[in-house]
Structures are given as structure tokens and as C-alpha cells.
């Protein structure tokens, strides 16, 4: 992987890239986590959670290309991986968008954006458990179109290899059914530039061991902007997951998060997030259904000198309650620094 980095740097430094429309952006995401109770799994060190370099440019009159390489600190060692490498086009078929290659799956809300662009530091519980600490990406094809309605109704459909999903340490194995998904989204205008986006997602996969996964989700994002200031941001995701194991047993879970943030000035904002997750299939050895719930609450404050540098301090408390007993308490503080250098592409709403 280090050879690839060296080649990339040499390539970027040559004049051969002039006049090609190549844009380069690098994003740094540093997080210090401090545990505030014994059970917390906070790392208690300032870590490079993510360092990402993205290159994007028109390839020719039809296609555009994106390459995104990221480095993560995993257990003290730096792990390089290709996040995205794909070609895309809005010019191939009228009204259609295509992506071919490896990319973040177009599902839900958070999974469609890079971690350094999230409005909070740590992924919500439901996202961590059902998808990944960061996001699910895979290689395949994604197609999107605006449906022929008077109002905004956007459909995205994708099929990807499914060899890997979420947290994986190997190249994966061929699944029985590849990963397939769709998202349907609509939008309600309040003023020009402020509104509410609603989306619904379905994802399915049957891995190589015959474990079938189905995820259904609802996502919503409300934004109220006044000039430079996003005065209110409220975003939520509700996800249901069913796993059917090869042993003929199954597990059903429902998770949700709700995040609200108030922008006081263009530089300063504060927010709160609630997380919850329930396992409907948990039983004890007597096969009695065990009542359980996971709860989390996070308070945060962000300060930014521009849209390209922000610091965020958050305080979170998560716990699990099982038949009236509280367990697995994790209280932690996190300090995050995010910066972007270069030409950052526009974000979705």
C-alpha cells in the first residue's frame, strides 16, 4: 500500500495533470476519546481516525472519475484502504445517473456521506451495529433517477458484489445473494434552501454462510438555513434489521437515532443526540423473552473558523438495560478536529 501512496504523490506532482480538470482534496479527522467510567471502551489517545485523499475529475465528455483513499488508525497501526474508486455519468442516458466501481452504498442518511462530514463525532449505535463504524462500501453498480412526478421523488437502486459488508478483515467470500438495495426519497420545501428530506431504504444480502440479512430504514433530515447560518438541523434514522442464520434461528432488531443541532452563529453550534436499539429476539436459556433496550445520549458543541476546519467536543453516555438491570455503561468525552484542504465537492442536502 505504501508503494501506491508514493506513486500517487509522484503522479500528482507532475505537470501531466495540468488542464485535466483534476481536483484534489484531503480531509483529516482526529479524535481524542477519554473514558469517564471503568467500562468505557474509549481509547484515551489522540488518534488519526481518518485521513482521506480524494481525487475527482472528468474522464471524458461522458464519464467522471472519483478515487478516494483513506488511512485509519486501527489498534495502533495505520491501515490504508481504498474507499471509493468509481466512474459516474449523468450524460449516458437522459434522466439517469450511473456509478460503476466501488463506492459508499446510497442507503440511509449517514452512509451516503464521508465520516468527516458528519454533524457528530461517533456513529450512532444503530449505524455501528447494522452497518459499520464508518460506512458500508462495496463494488458494483448504482443507478439513480428522478421519477416523473411534479414533486421531487428520487429513486436509487444498486447491486454490489456482497463479498464484504461492514467490518471485515479479509477480502470476503462470494455470497449466495449479492448486496442489493434501493432508496426512495422526497423533499418538502419550506423556503428556498430550507426543507425536509424523507427517505426510505431497503437492503438485502445472503452471505456465503447462508446468513440472510434484510434492513429496512427511514431517514429524515430537516434543515433551516438563514444566509450563511444553518440555524436548525434535525436528522434521524430508524432501521429495522432481520438476520436469518443458517441454523434456522433469526434475530430482529430495531434501532433509531435523533439528532438536533442549533446554529447560534456561523462559528458556533450545539447539539444533542439520542440513540436507542432494541433486540426483539433476545431470550434466556429458558427461552423466555428478555426485555432489553440500549440507550445513549450525546451532548456536543462545535466551533468552526470556516467550513473547512471545525472542532467538536462531545460528552456521551450509553448503557444497556436488561430486565431492569443496567449494564455495559460507557461514558466518554471526545474531542474532534476535522480539516479539509483542497477543493471539496459539494455535499448533498
Amino acid at each position: 500500500m505504501n508503494k501506491m501512496i508514493t506513486l500517487l504523490l509522484v503522479f500528482l506532482s507532475t505537470s501531466a495533470i495540468a488542464d485535466t480538470g483534476l481536483e484534489i482534496v484531503a480531509a483529516g479527522d482526529l479524535v481524542y476519546s477519554q473514558s469517564l467510567n471503568d467500562e468505557s471502551a474509549a481509547t484515551e489517545k489522540l488518534a488519526v481516525r481518518g485521513a482521506e485523499v480524494m481525487l475527482f475529475a472528468p474522464i471524458d465528455h461522458i464519464w467522471d472519475g472519483v478515487f478516494s483513499l483513506a488511512a485509519h488508525d486501527e489498534g495502533g497501526s495505520t491501515n490504508f484502504e481504498v474507499h471509493e474508486l468509481y466512474v459516474s455519468s449523468s450524460k449516458l442516458i437522459d434522466g439517469s445517473r450511473f456509478k460503476i466501481g466501488q463506492f459508499f452504498l446510497g442507503i440511509g442518511r449517514l452512509n451516503r456521506s464521508h465520516q468527516h462530514d458528519w454533524p457528530f463525532t461517533r456513529a450512532p449505535k444503530v449505524h455501528r451495529d447494522f452497518l459499520a463504524e464508518e460506512a458500508v462500501f462495496d463494488a458494483g453498480v448504482e443507478w439513480g433517477t428522478l421519477l416523473p412526478t411534479e414533486f421531487y421523488l428520487d429513486l436509487t437502486i444498486g447491486v454490489t458484489s456482497g463479498h464484504r459488508f461492514g467490518h471485515v478483515h479479509s477480502s470476503g467470500t462470494k455470497p449466495k445473494t449479492p448486496t442489493h438495495y434501493m432508496r426512495l426519497a422526497t423533499f418538502v420545501d419550506f423556503t428556498r434552501g430550507s426543507g425536509l428530506e424523507l427517505g426510505t431504504t431497503y437492503l438485502g444480502r445472503n452471505n456465503s454462510q447462508g446468513e440472510k440479512m434484510q434492513i429496512v430504514g427511514l431517514d429524515s433530515t430537516f434543515k433551516w438555513r438563514e444566509g450563511k447560518l444553518v440555524k436548525w438541523l434535525v436528522t434521524s434514522e430508524l432501521m429495522y434489521r432481520k438476520l436469518d442464520f443458517a441454523s434456522a434461528s433469526s434475530e430482529e432488531e430495531l434501532g433509531f437515532y435523533l439528532f438536533g443541532e442549533r446554529g447560534w452563529t456561523p462559528a458556533f453550534r450545539s447539539g444533542i443526540r439520542f440513540d436507542t436499539l432494541k433486540n426483539f429476539s433476545e431470550r434466556n436459556l429458558l427461552q423466555k423473552k428478555v426485555n432489553n433496550i440500549h440507550w445513549g445520549a450525546t451532548l456536543q458543541s462545535s466551533y468552526q473558523t470556516s467550513e473547512f476546519f471545525k472542532t467538536r467536543l462531545s460528552l456521551s453516555h450509553e448503557f444497556r438495560r436488561v430486565e431492569g438491570l443496567t449494564q455495559d455503561k460507557d461514558t466518554r468525552a471526545q474531542l474532534q478536529f476535522v480539516f479539509i484542504i483542497g477543493a471539496h465537492p459539494a455535499h448533498d442536502f
Binding site: 430495531l254 434466556n284 436488561v322
Partner: protein, 219 residues
């Protein structure tokens, strides 16, 4: 503005159909913490002899991650086998097996019909003494379960990391330390547990501590 509350309304409807407090429904009242088979003695929480214990309270999610603190002693030819994320009979589980053989400590990682013998990482352990380990099992990876074994130091997560583990299944092939032979890596075998339960099988052993908790490493 009222449209902003539609998803919230839907959520309230959904969650009103189930309990969100995690309150006691009496499901665990008949359980005395563990289920002990014959052959094992349970004195002041210490297990000894030969037999099986399956913990009645599950680990929660099948695709979850947990840590296990084990402190035990082995008689000669004795064995402690930790099975995690298995069915109620501990079938289809992944775990670690410790055995005392000819004065040495042998350690295996198992799962999905695969047994891996770890040859040389436990040579410095006094097989006849008190053995104290912290073990993480991450059963939530898409490929194989990710296991760590550490020497126990404390209950604090900050004392345990991917780099200071005695065993980290990210870093070995099967069987261990037989360089030059073409064996698959642990993760390529995609071995995972398929249930929410855990327990111990003892042969001529004494277990002082056996406790599950949240994972110590987040790799």
C-alpha cells in the same frame, strides 16, 4: 413545519408498541445466574471438577461483541473450554480452549469445526499456576469472529489493545507458526458463532472468575 414531525410520529407509534424502558418482566426470575451440570461443584462462585456450565443470560445480540474474564487453575491434563456465541447447547460457538499437557499450556481457538493450535505464544505461562486472561470475541464481523487473548491486568479497556494481545486472530495463519506452508488465514474461513449463549466445559479444572462484559478492543 408540521411535516417535520411526521417521522417522529411514526417512530412514536412504532416504539409505543414495545417497552422502551428495559423494565423487569420477570423473565430472569427463575434463573439463578447459571445452569450447572452434574460433576461441577460451585462453592462461593468457584467452579471445580469436570462438567459444563452454560450462563443463562444471553450475550444479547448474536452479531455482537463481548469480553470474557477467565481466571482458573488446571490439574495435569486438565482443560477449560470457553464457548461463546453458541446455541443453548453451546453448539455452533466460537471460543478458546486451554489445556495443561506435559507441564505446558496448550491453547486452541475453535469455531465452525475448525481447531487451531497456537504453538508458541504461551510457553512462558506457568501451566500449573493460576491463569488469568481477558478474551475478546467480536462475533459481529462479516467474515470470521475476531478473537483476542490478553493477560489480565485490569477491567479497564485502556489496558487492552490490538497490539499488546498475546493472540490477535488478525495476525496469524492456520496452523500457527508453520511458515512456508499454504494455510488459509483465520478470517478467510469466515467462522462465527450462531447463537447468543456462552459457557464453559471443564475437565479437572477450577475456575475462580468467569465474567462477560463489553468488548475491550474496538478493532
Amino acid at each position: 413545519m408540521k411535516n417535520a414531525f411526521l417521522p417522529l410520529l411514526l417512530v412514536l407509534i412504532l416504539i409505543s408498541a414495545c417497552d422502551i424502558t428495559g423494565k423487569d418482566t420477570g423473565a430472569n426470575q427463575a434463573i439463578d445466574g447459571t445452569q450447572v451440570t452434574t460433576g461441577l461443584q460451585n462453592i462461593d462462585g468457584k467452579l471445580s471438577g469436570s462438567g459444563r456450565v452454560v450462563v443463562s443470560k444471553s450475550l444479547g445480540q448474536v452479531r455482537g461483541a463481548s469480553s470474557f474474564h477467565l481466571r482458573f487453575k488446571l490439574q495435569d491434563e486438565g482443560e477449560v473450554r470457553l464457548s461463546t456465541y453458541g446455541r443453548a447447547d453451546l453448539d455452533q460457538s466460537v471460543g478458546v480452549e486451554f489445556r495443561r499437557k506435559a507441564g505446558l499450556l496448550e491453547v486452541k481457538i475453535f469455531g465452525g469445526g475448525v481447531d487451531t493450535l497456537i504453538l508458541n505464544r504461551f510457553e512462558n505461562f506457568q501451566a500449573s499456576g493460576v491463569l488469568d486472561f481477558m478474551i475478546d470475541v467480536h462475533n459481529n464481523h462479516d467474515d470470521a469472529a475476531h478473537l483476542f487473548i490478553w493477560r489480565y491486568t485490569s477491567d479497564n479497556s485502556s489496558d487492552y489493545g490490538a497490539q499488546n494481545a498475546i493472540v490477535n486472530t488478525d495476525f496469524f495463519k492456520l496452523p500457527l507458526d508453520l511458515d512456508g506452508l499454504d494455510f488459509p488465514e483465520w478470517h478467510d474461513l469466515a467462522v462465527k458463532g450462531n447463537g447468543p449463549f456462552w459457557g464453559l466445559d471443564l475437565i479437572d479444572a477450577e475456575v475462580e472468575i468467569y465474567k462477560a462484559g463489553p468488548p475491550k478492543d474496538n478493532s
